[in-house]
């Protein structure tokens, strides 16, 4: 073995490599893998979502909800791991819904901030984070289960199984208004709009509701919705479905529907900031508007099956701190934290692998709206989505009210094939994506 003279006679290349190896191992253990919180130290949770930009409405309100959640949990002593109690601390990183920035954010949260769990919106940003999560074994949650594939073993979708829960709204509508038999649908042509479109198509077909014209797919850059609404209304439908449009589209489309004199039923995945829509249209126009996301001051959320803690107080506190900001995601990230806390306490550790195992043990979990199953092998190639009941929400007298909880698994058992067929037709099944 040739010695490296500059480092003295006893310093061989082998020793140098061994030293480098040891150094790299120590660096890896200190940086690449999640650091474990010591006794009494707060446990850090990463919040990696868009906080600015067009998609901020699905990130920022969630962070605000998490801060309230952390405050409440910490006031009660934090998370109990074994005999130790730890406070929860959120570390946020604005990924601007860009995969490159999401990758940077994930690396920062894992290596520099030492988080034990990362919550994401997902979607376009997940592919940037995926290799970082895979290498570090980090447990990551997404709100968009279409990110799930057989190889995303550390990614979970425990809050919402978008867009499949949309079937519950259509099912309830068909039961309640059996005379509504024709529909039109519009959606933005993107990763959120298309799977939702397939879901509505399957749900309408399951209920014998006829689609009067081909779905209107508009570009996400669209700002003028008058022609789109005119085209939809030209066939005089009983139902207008707004698919999973961003609130930037739901509002102007509703305005156009109102201005063009539409008097039928409107169904949508979301109606974020619906008070503003009512201001722009009228209380009468919005009466009976069906969507999927309740206000948490709803008495129906005190149903004993609901696992979200103190929903009414949470809603009150949220609105006190952030008036007018309540949206679809305000409670979702916090509900994921409820699930994580329970699993961490059960595992006696915040280690991602152990938390995931505790979370999925028994194949069931405490979803915000009741007990649910870890599900998705047929649909996502992996059972990492928590699926159970979902509320159907209707605007009555200017206020969102839960009208029913409907079971997604029950619907899927009856009509799963339909859903897969429509998803396949739009290239949205996990084996067809990317």
């Amino acid at each position: 073995m040739k010695n490296l003279k500059n480092f003295g006679g006893s310093f061989s290349r082998r020793r140098l490599l061994a030293g480098a190896n040891a150094l790299s191992v120590s660096l890896l253990s200190s940086g690449l893998f999640p650091r474990l919180a010591r006794s009494g130290e707060p446990i850090k949770i990463g919040f990696l979502a868009p906080l600015t930009g067009e998609v901020a409405a699905w990130g920022k309100p969630g962070l605000d909800g998490c801060l309230i959640w952390a405050e409440w949990v910490n006031a009660l002593g934090g998370v109990k791991l074994g005999n130790e109690r730890h406070n929860i601390e959120f570390v946020a990183y604005d990924n601007e819904y860009d995969p490159g920035k999401a990758r940077t954010g994930a690396a920062k949260l894992i290596r520099e901030d030492g988080v034990q769990f990362i919550m994401m919106l997902g979607g376009d940003t997940w592919p940037g984070v995926q290799p970082v999560a895979e290498r570090s074994g980090m447990l990551v949650s997404t709100l968009l289960p279409s990110d799930l594939t057989p190889d995303t073993t550390t990614l979970i979708a425990p809050a919402e199984v978008h867009p499949i829960y949309n079937v519950t709204g259509v099912e309830w509508m068909a039961e309640t208004f059996p005379n509504l038999k024709s529909a039109v649908i519009c959606a933005q042509d993107d990763a959120l709009g298309l799977p939702s479109l397939a879901t509505y198509l399957a749900a309408f077909e399951a209920e014998g509701i006829e689609l009067q014209q081909d779905p209107l797919l508009f570009d996400p850059a669209t700002t003028d919705f008058a022609p789109i609404v005119t085209k939809m209304l030209s066939s005089n439908p009983d139902i207008v479905s707004l698919d999973t449009c961003y609130s930037d589209y739901v509002h102007p489309i509703c305005e156009q529907l109102f201005q063009q004199g539409y008097e039928g039923k409107v169904i949508s995945c979301t109606a974020d900031f619906y008070e503003q829509i009512i201001e722009k249209t009228s209380k009468e126009f919005m009466e009976g508007f069906i969507f999927q996301f309740p206000d948490f001051d709803d008495p129906a959320l005190n149903d004993p099956r609901v696992n979200f803690k103190d929903p009414n107080d949470f809603f009150r506190e949220y609105n006190r701190r952030y008036p007018g900001e309540w949206g679809a995601v305000s409670w979702e990230y916090a509900s994921i934290m409820d699930l994580w806390k329970e699993a961490a306490e059960k595992a006696g550790s915040a280690e991602p692998e152990k938390v995931l195992a505790a979370m999925k043990s028994g194949g069931k979990g405490a979803h915000a709206f009741g007990e649910a199953n870890w599900w998705g092998r047929e649909f996502f190639g992996i059972d990492n989505a928590l699926v159970g009941n979902w509320p159907v929400v209707v605007i009555e007298d200017g206020k969102a009210r839960v009208k029913a909880y409907k079971s997604i698994p029950d619907w899927y058992d009856r009509h799963g094939e339909l859903l897969i067929r429509h998803m396949e037709a739009l290239g949205q099944m996990y084996y067809q994506r990317g």
Partner: protein, 332 residues
Amino acid sequence: MLAIVPEAARFRYLLAWTALAVLLCALPLFLSYSQKEILVFTTINVILVVSYRHLTLTGEWSLGHVVMMGCGAYGSALASKQLGLAVPLSMLTGGVCAALVGWLLSYPLFRMKGFYFLIGSFAAGEVIRLLWKRFRDPFGGPKGLKRVPGLEEFEFAGLRIDFFDPVPYYFFSLAVAIVCIWLLWRIERSPLGWSYHAVHWGDDLARSVGIPTRRLRRRAMVTASFFAGISGALLVHYVGTVNPSRFNVEEMVYVLTWAIVGGVATLYGPILGVVSLTIVNEIILREFGLDQWRPLFYGALLIASVLFLPKGLESLVAPARSMLSRLWTRSA
């Protein structure tokens, strides 16, 4: 004395370049992991914005340049994923794809000038973005392409070089950026480059002396698109994914901002713009916990620079250089 001055100037010049080289090589040592990630993206954006400046040499400002970057990203991703080409070869393929698209677009676009060209380039870019969305095969639709392979890791002197880590990829991107910038600089300093300036500053006059202005504009666009494509290829093989939203008009506004704040009269102007704004936007404001206020700060900074530094950051370089020169002479 006359003989000494150029010698001293040459020495100073050499010293400055050496200092810059040392700084660029040592930079990762002083940065955190996430800042190294930002360094990689900044290096890639340097190629993008310098290539954009090349297009502006002929006097035309485009709103479709990030789409050319996207063409490179998609071209390279498809070449490596579908054709199985080695990543460096795929990157070159991506550059060529972007150049080809630039060449095709140049025919209708250079029938327009000025404001009309600007709008036309925006529309052309949107058409390309819509095609990526519409044709799920091969472009992956709105979700784009995932699992794009990165550069293969290898062993060198017993050390494993893994391009997933930001430092090796930074040095790789830096090497590519240096080659790109040198090539663009050589073109600009060649007779072809002077012709670009002639087209910019005296279009009618240039035509009157037989300079084929449209052909020169086309050549500048093809060259700029090629290098934008290379930057896109570098991006996609690092992040591992590409989708149409990454190349929308909002991203183009960032490129314009870098160019305007830095200035486009010199090659280093846009580089100053992208580096300084990235430091402010991605490091300083984030470090101060002002994530959500960044668009506001960014906008305010842009307005301030347009008001107080209309010729860009590059206009500060000449006074700084002469001040340093005076200090050097005095100390000597």
